[in-house]
Symmetry: C2
Subunit: 147 residues, 2 copies
DNA sequence: CTTGACCTTCCCATGGTTGGAACCCTTAGA
DNA sequence: TCTAAGGGTTCCAACCATGGGAAGGTCAAG
């Protein structure tokens, strides 16, 4: 199977398959004499696993952990569960942050007439620069890949 | 005021102030003979506005829109409200996505014994590669700046 | 043999932010 | 006056996951 076929079969783009190999998430596969990568069913299986984990919001590091557990026949399910629940905690944390933002903006917007006059409580709030506590980066949820 | 003082006064790091100037979000400020940027209170005011918008999850593009409206005395509050509510919609969309992920993982984890045996329904699910519909990038919520 | 569809590697861009290097400027103390 | 510390300046690189594209090799069908 060529990389393109493996991509179709797994739902992971050829670009990403090469990337995952490059960063060591998956092992380099065999090559034809001319250098083409060749994939077996087992590789596609692994790629599907990765895709599923990715779709559930795991980052490459976490996916690596899960892959290692998957391939370790003497794993303890407790370890898998822990990784999964840690991820849930992270997701919940992020959800709370986004909800706080949405709630704040909704509140400000509800105070805004939304007509052709310039007065706007939203801008007034921003202008005051409400001493936020967050100093770090804001979230990026613009689905970077969806351009 | 030097850039470091403006950074402390606004809560925006000196690095980011230079970056915002570079990408045109804020106009270049005056310089001393030796090239130091000099900031006035009004500039700090603008920086605080930016910080507040950023903390509420606006991306630079949206912040630019809001800044333009802020500085346009003949703006219509409806325009501000529209930008704000579009952002809320995007936030809600993202929240739904994250909640779907969390729910799925919580469900799988609830089916996992979490003991020292290797059998794990979480891995079983991932292994099946549940034909997800999402092809794009997963969210990145690891607070990129918090390294 | 040509054509077109694939593969290869390499570089570039995104978004917001941080880090560092290499260098210049200013100020305070010895 | 010299010097050290702590600013400032620019430029380059990195993060993460992904897509885009160029330049060139390979393969199968017509």
């Amino acid at each position: 199977m060529t990389i393109g076929e493996a991509a179709k079969a797994s739902g992971v783009s050829a670009k990403m398959i090469r990337y995952y190999e490059q960063i060591g998430l998956i092992a380099p596969v065999a090559r034809t004499e001319s250098g083409y990568r060749i994939y077996a069913e087992a590789d596609v299986h692994t790629l599907r696993f990765i895709r599923r984990a990715r779709d559930l919001g795991f980052m490459v590091e976490g996916i690596g952990d899960l892959l290692a557990l998957w391939q370790d026949r003497s794993r303890h399910s407790a370890d898998v569960k822990r990784v999964a629940l840690e991820h849930v905690t992270a997701l919940e944390q992020k959800i709370r942050e986004l909800e706080a933002m949405a709630a704040t903006i909704r509140h400000l917007a509800s105070c805004c007439a939304g007509d052709d006059r310039p007065d706007c409580p939203i801008l007034d709030d921003f202008e005051q620069g409400e001493p936020g506590t967050k100093t770090g980066a804001p979230p990026r949820f613009g689905a970077p890949g969806a351009r």
